[in-house]
Amino acid sequence: MSLFSYAPAPESRSVVDIAPSYGLFIDGSFVPASSSGGVFKTVNPASEEVLAEVAAAGVEDVDLAVAAARRAFEPWSALPGAERAKYLFRIARIIQERSRELAVLESLDNGKPIKESRDVDLPLVAAHFFYYAGWADKLPYAGFGADPRPLGVAAQVIPWNFPLLMLAWKIAPALAAGNTVVLKPAETTPLSALFFADVCQQAGLPRGVVNIITGAGETGRALVEHPDVNKVAFTGSTEVGRQIARSVAGTRKRLTLELGGKAANIVFDDAPIDQAVEGIVNGIFFNQGHVCCAGSRLLVQESAYDTVLESLKRRMATLRVGDPLDKNTDIGAINSAAQLSRIRELSEIGASEGADRWSPPCELPAQGYWFAPTIFTGVTQAHRIAREEIFGPVLSVLTFRTPDEAVEKANNTPYGLSAGVWTEKGSLILAMADKLRAGVVWANTFNKFDPTSPFGGYKESGYGREGGRHGLEAYLA
């Protein structure tokens, strides 16, 4: 490796200016938390350095934010669609202009490699706003009636794995449809949402249309349980999703949930092996495996098992784990100490249940939260690591003999968010896609996202769709 080892190529931090502390973005301006709230710190998971102190919204702050959104709802929904589109187009353009700053910020606060925040997250964020800006004046033609109406105030709670992208998935369709929003970013990744608040100010968005309140689970609970919200949208764990579904039950609130997954990535023996291996790597190690639709269960046809495993291990040995801001880093830091300990715990369970654990030789930084890319072979459906969502760079490898067996195993999970099929045989792809109970089935690719394509799950992976024309339905009555 010494013959041609890449010199460090860090992206400069100087493009982003993080303030020492942040308030809540309510009614168009930043305000400190009330006495019912507090403050918390957000850290860079790659170094454990504190990035900023952020306000934790209390019950009163949630009240204020919902009231601001309520006041803004009437004028905002009364605007002609084309006028709302102008704001969304403006936001999309500002995001593009500030994409380098936002990408660096996202990598600092989340730990994801800069090549992903730069080449995946930020372009998709802008694309989402552009896409839904285009819908704002065409709602009568979306297929939801001649005169679809917005719902009102949307309470949105998003996870830490794609902080700004999940914000875009939530806010863009809500605003295009004429709703106003109160959004709570995850406790460990609040910064890009606060920078988005600044983008809204820069775009001249009317006050109260977008409110950003930061905080932990309690803040989220207060928000979704607030009596004056009309719509709740949540992306996160199945466990929290269940709590939300319970709290919303019996109210008139509309609900969409995008929850966990344990996707099967199915490789047949006639697959394009080299590209399938890329797809396996991308499926589970993209964003450190912090992806709800990650291909965390690899199902390989037994007749191709040796070839695939050998190629996979060889490929994994070239993965570069380290400084998220280095442009050559493939795998960044685990988002938080809590997540790291969950990944460690499940991995140890995997080993103790008898699966074979393997990681390439890989030096991890001393500071920060890190986990080497890992695969478990000899996994069966009875292992916990084949059933529970690990949400980290850990792949469970299982085998199958026939297409029917692949379908049976793939569907034998309480989740149903995504799946992948690898074969050169088109008819097999179509037959598999028909039988797999998953919201997204990727054919000869994995983890591909596009604002025009609906995304969402079956079973315990949630309900409702985000993205595409379908994504509008969640915000229209």
Partner: protein
């Protein structure tokens, strides 16, 4: 169809397919690697050592070939630390001229042969062409395959031609040009790569440089995967030479990254990887000077040969 032709066909068509979208995405992703400072300096010197400095024009003259050969030996007259290139690549008629300049230098002398670039000539003509080049002093032969035969499925014909040319080349290293721009699909690139290696190629080469589509990153990636898999199965290592269309240092470094991250450092050596190029060398020299002096020198500070 004879038994061996049947075996060859079923073997080549039994190779795993290549997904176009996937291979292009992978090579594009590797193209975003950021190679800076010390890594860049090492890459530039390595790339210079891998250049097959080429002139293949109807207008080539002994004077032109002599000048190019001199440049191959000492690419940057102002800087004695600059390495020589790997080889000179010329038409058979120019081989004796180049041989005179390069004798004893360690810089190889490659000759195209076998009715380059079309390959549309009888086998005897191709073999005579090859023997001539070797007799004139070439120690590397760049042959072309009969794309017409390959595309019409006559793999045994292509195979036998390569075997015959390999024999005619004697001790000279044989590079087999697949002309990937005419093969149409990545599946064909993989099959042609294996076909050439099975027939005894020492190197597989993308292009003649005489058709519109020459070397590309994804095609080279497919060929690298082929030589990697071939070595794993047979134990024999085969080299790869992208040729045509590689003009800048930035491009060359992308190829080195591709090798580094797919087949590994065993191929990061002029014995196993070459760039078929002419204008690339001056850009490499210019970037090399920039790295050592901190500023760009004008094009007049680099020789035009």
């Amino acid at each position: 169809m004879s038994g061996s032709a049947f075996n060859l066909r079923s073997f080549l068509h039994g190779l795993p397919g290549v997904d176009k979208v996937g291979v292009e995405a992978r090579s594009a992703a590797l193209g975003t690697r950021s190679v800076k400072t010390t890594a860049k300096a090492a890459a530039i010197d390595l790339a210079i050592r891998m250049v097959d400095l080429t002139t293949l024009e109807g207008a080539d003259t002994p004077g032109k070939v002599r000048a190019l050969s001199a440049k191959a030996l000492r690419p940057d007259p102002a800087d004695p630390t600059c390495p020589s290139v790997a080889a000179i690549c010329v038409y058979p008629a120019m081989v004796p001229v180049a041989a005179e300049v390069l004798a004893g230098s360690g810089v190889h002398l490659a000759s195209v042969a076998t009715a380059f670039p079309s390959g549309q000539a009888p086998l005897e003509v191709k073999l005579a062409d090859t023997r001539d080049a070797v007799a004139g002093g070439a120690d590397e032969i760049d042959m072309v395959i009969s794309r017409g035969a390959f595309l019409s499925g006559r793999y045994d014909h292509v195979y036998e031609e390569i075997v015959a040319v390999k024999e005619a080349s004697g001790a000279a290293h044989l590079k087999v040009i697949l002309e990937t721009g005419e093969l149409g699909t990545y599946d064909n690139v993989r099959r042609a790569s294996w076909l050439a290696m099975l027939a005894g190629a020492d190197f597989i080469k993308t292009s003649t440089g005489k058709v519109p589509v020459a070397a590309t990153l994804p095609v080279t990636l497919v060929m690298l995967e082929a030589v990697r898999d071939f070595r794993a199965q047979t134990g024999r290592q085969v080299g790869v030479k992208p040729a045509g269309g590689i003009r800048t240092t930035k491009d060359a470094i992308k190829y080195l990254v591709l090798i580094n991250e797919t087949v590994g450092t065993d191929w990061l050596d002029p014995d196993w990887f070459r760039f078929g190029a002419s204008s690339l060398l001056n850009d490499l020299l210019m970037q090399r000077t920039k790295l050592t002096t901190g500023h760009y020198a004008g094009p007049d500070y680099f020789t035009l040969d």
